[in-house]
């Protein structure tokens, strides 16, 4: 018996297809193609081969005892999606969808990106498979994730900055949808997370489910059982669903999603959909949305571009309302403290998104206590965030010039009185 409660294109009351009629045919085509592909041994073998030889799967599971020493008792294991080719979990879904795009005879893919990781992964797959690629990115995000903009362009993708609205992920999705509805004949919209109209939430989850499947087995090999808690950060929700899915039917495993608490819920500057959002519709799905009394989408804030999004995948809305998973906000400060702690205790620089999951684990650790086992999805690495983190910790000045701890020089006497 499964607790998925997925009936057709709905997760409980959430999901569906709130889209222009012009997209319905393309969504039907995609749904048919992915259903067929997931039952086709050749497709699955090709996907497996790419995951192994190109991405580097399985990603390792790393125990982090020096970090765990700060968490009040539990043993902590990281699922190392940061070590995937391109540096995050995003590649899992991208390779699956890019193969589908080829299978459907599309010659162009488009994508939205926040932190730039999904854009980089899409540009990578497009280069690998010989597809044209356009990536939409909010203006604000192109500035704070400049390194990833350069990476996408090096890979041959066209990057379009979106200045409208808040200049972040939601506006990039609007622009990608506009492109798709205009070019749907030859273009596949390679959506980067578990939201959007059916079949995206289900399809993207299925391509990420490998994270949890591997981790469950790896952990069992080490501890001989299940974890007590699984922690992930939640932007749109793809890395979280990817690791949750294998544990969904295990009542002894607490599933925890950590959202961007920004400056704190009370300030209004955050992206905590389950703390301050209401059920609504955004980007094709019925789900929780941060909105005002008139149903206008609210602007969000997070130090992490990948979590800076006013809505969340519909399956998370269902997991939340049914109590099957729990969600809590983590502030910018808590996330950056956890970021620093992992760097200094374990020699791993995490993505700031993933640092929200680390901070969450530090918070729930003491309740779980000695001997408990916590699994964290380390969804990405922090190379893209070095500039943000260096500014946060005061390692650079306003011009981006590095500060050093001291200055080494020729060891000679400066005095002239020798």
């Amino acid at each position: 018996m499964t607790t998925t409660q997925q009936v057709g294109d709905r997760f409980g009351d959430f999901g569906g297809r709130y889209v222009p009629e012009a997209l319905v045919a393309a969504l039907d085509e995609l749904d048919a193609a992915r259903t067929e592909a997931m039952a086709d041994p050749d497709f699955l073998a090709e996907l497996d081969r790419l995951q192994r030889d190109y991405t580097g799967r399985p990603s390792p599971l790393t125990e982090v005892p020096r970090f765990a020493a700060h968490a009040g008792g539990p043993r902590i294991f990281l699922k190392r999606e940061d070590l995937n080719h391109t540096g995050s979990h995003k590649i899992n879904n991208v390779l699956g969808q890019a193969l589908l795009a080829v299978r459907m005879g599309k010659r162009r893919v488009i994508a939205e990106t926040g932190a730039g990781q999904h854009g980089v992964a899409t540009a990578t797959a497009a280069a690998l498979m010989g597809l044209e690629c356009t990536v939409y990115m909010g203006q604000v995000d192109t500035e704070r994730q400049a390194l990833n903009v350069a990476r996408m362009r090096l890979l041959g993708a066209e990057v379009v900055a979106v200045p409208t609205g808040s200049g972040t992920l939601k506006d990039a999705i609007n622009e990608a949808m506009r492109d798709w509805v205009t070019h749907v004949g030859h273009t596949h919209y390679l959506l980067g997370t578990v939201t959007g109209p059916h079949p995206f939430p289900t399809m993207v989850r299925d391509f990420h489910a490998v994270i949890g499947q591997e981790a469950r087995k790896q952990l069992d090999d080490v501890v001989g059982g299940l974890p007590d808690a699984v922690c992930a950060c939640v932007g749109g929700g793809s890395n979280a669903i990817g690791i949750f899915h294998a544990f969904r039917d295990e009542p002894s495993v607490a599933l925890w999603g950590f959202e961007a608490g920004g400056d704190g819920i009370e300030t209004g500057r955050h992206a905590a959909r389950f703390s301050a959002g209401e059920p609504g519709v955004l980007h094709g799905a019925s789900t929780y949305v941060l909105q005002d009394a008139d149903g206008q989408t609210l602007e969000t804030h997070s130090v992490s571009a990948g979590l800076d999004y006013p809505s969340i995948g519909p399956e998370h809305a269902f997991l939340h309302d049914s109590g099957l998973a729990r969600y809590a906000p983590v502030t910018d400060r808590e996330a950056m403290d956890a970021f620093s702690l992992l760097c200094r205790t374990e020699g791993i620089i995490p993505a700031i998104e993933s640092a929200h999951a680390l901070a969450g684990a530090l918070r729930i650790g003491p309740e779980l206590g000695e001997g408990a086992v916590v699994l964290i999805n380390l969804s990405g690495r922090g190379d893209k965030d070095v500039d943000t983190a260096a500014r946060w910790f005061g390692l650079v000045d306003d011009e981006g010039q590095a500060h050093v701890d001291g200055e080494a020089g020729p060891d000679v006497d400066e005095g002239g009185d020798a």
Binding site: G16, R17, Y18, V19, P20, E21, A22, L23, V24, A25, A26, T164, G165, K170, D171, I173, N174, M177, R178, V181, T182, H183, V184, G185, E278, G280, V281, L282, H283, G284, S286, V289, Q291, A293, D294, G295, Q296, T297
Partner: protein, 261 residues
């Protein structure tokens, strides 16, 4: 018979198509918006599509998108839409509202239908709500005698053309090209084909939108459609210098166009 049925019957008797003009409520601000609606009605729009400005208008091109942002910055509140609808009705046009779904959902579907009917609205066009997801709205529309107007697109299969038009009342919105709203140089040949395919499955009046900006284009579309929908071109006129004057002149040109076919 609803006001929309009467209106299309009247146009048919006159041997012409209806002119459907779109403007976002509250653009550029509420007082000017009310003036603009009266101008539109007075200069010859038969149906006025009152748009609800929304933060994430993913079916709209830059002209309408910018107008929506301007209206929101000027303080547009959702209930203003009923004020604008009432003004359109008082000016002698038939008002319908065009809105993305979330504002209606948030307001409450039944409450929105009630308040729209009370303000004199005849129906609701829903660019991101397909009949498959519209159970609650269709029930509320029936209750309030409002027309649910859904869109058909060049990519719609014949089966969807049939099921979508069966869910429509008043008229069908024929989105003539694949893409977002905006002015186009040529009205694609897709439009006439799609109208033909849609005619084969419904007797409802067919209104064609997306791209019309001149009297000549209006005349061309009026040659095969029951209504010609103009949006971005009117918004652009209103947003330029001498906005209300330009809006009147363009509306008159379009009204002459739909009578010329």
């Amino acid at each position: 018979m609803s006001v929309l049925d009467d209106l299309f019957a009247g146009c048919r008797e006159e041997g012409r198509s209806a002119l459907v003009g779109y403007l976002p409520a509250g653009y550029p601000d509420l007082p000017t918006s009310l003036e603009a609606i009266r101008t539109l009605a007075d200069a010859g729009a038969d149906i006025i599509e009152v748009g609800v400005p929304y933060t994430d208008p993913l079916m709209d091109g830059p002209v309408v998108e910018r107008a929506a942002s301007t209206a929101l910055r000027s303080g547009f509140r959702l209930t203003d839409v009923f004020t604008v609808v009432a003004a359109a009705r008082d000016a002698g046009a038939v008002p319908v509202v065009m809105t993305y779904w979330n504002p209606v959902l948030r307001y409450g579907v039944d409450r929105f239908a009630q308040d729209l009917a009370d303000a004199g609205g005849a129906g609701l066009i829903t660019p991101d709500l397909i009949p498959d997801e519209a159970g609650a709205w269709r029930a509320a529309a029936e209750e309030q005698d409002l027309a649910p107007v859904f869109l058909v697109a060049p990519s719609s299969t014949d089966a969807r053309l049939r099921s979508t038009t069966q869910a429509c009342r008043g008229f069908v919105y024929v989105a003539s090209t694949m893409g977002v709203t905006g002015v186009r140089d040529a009205v694609g040949s897709d439009a006439e084909r799609l109208v033909g395919r849609t005619r084969a499955v419904t007797d409802l009046p067919l209104c064609v939108g997306l791209g019309v900006s001149t009297g000549d284009q209006a005349a061309e579309v009026a040659g095969f459609a029951d209504g010609v929908i103009v949006g971005s071109a009117l918004v652009r006129a209103l947003g330029g210098p001498d906005g209300l004057g330009a809006l009147r002149r363009l509306t008159e040109e379009l009204a002459a166009g739909v009578r010329r076919a």
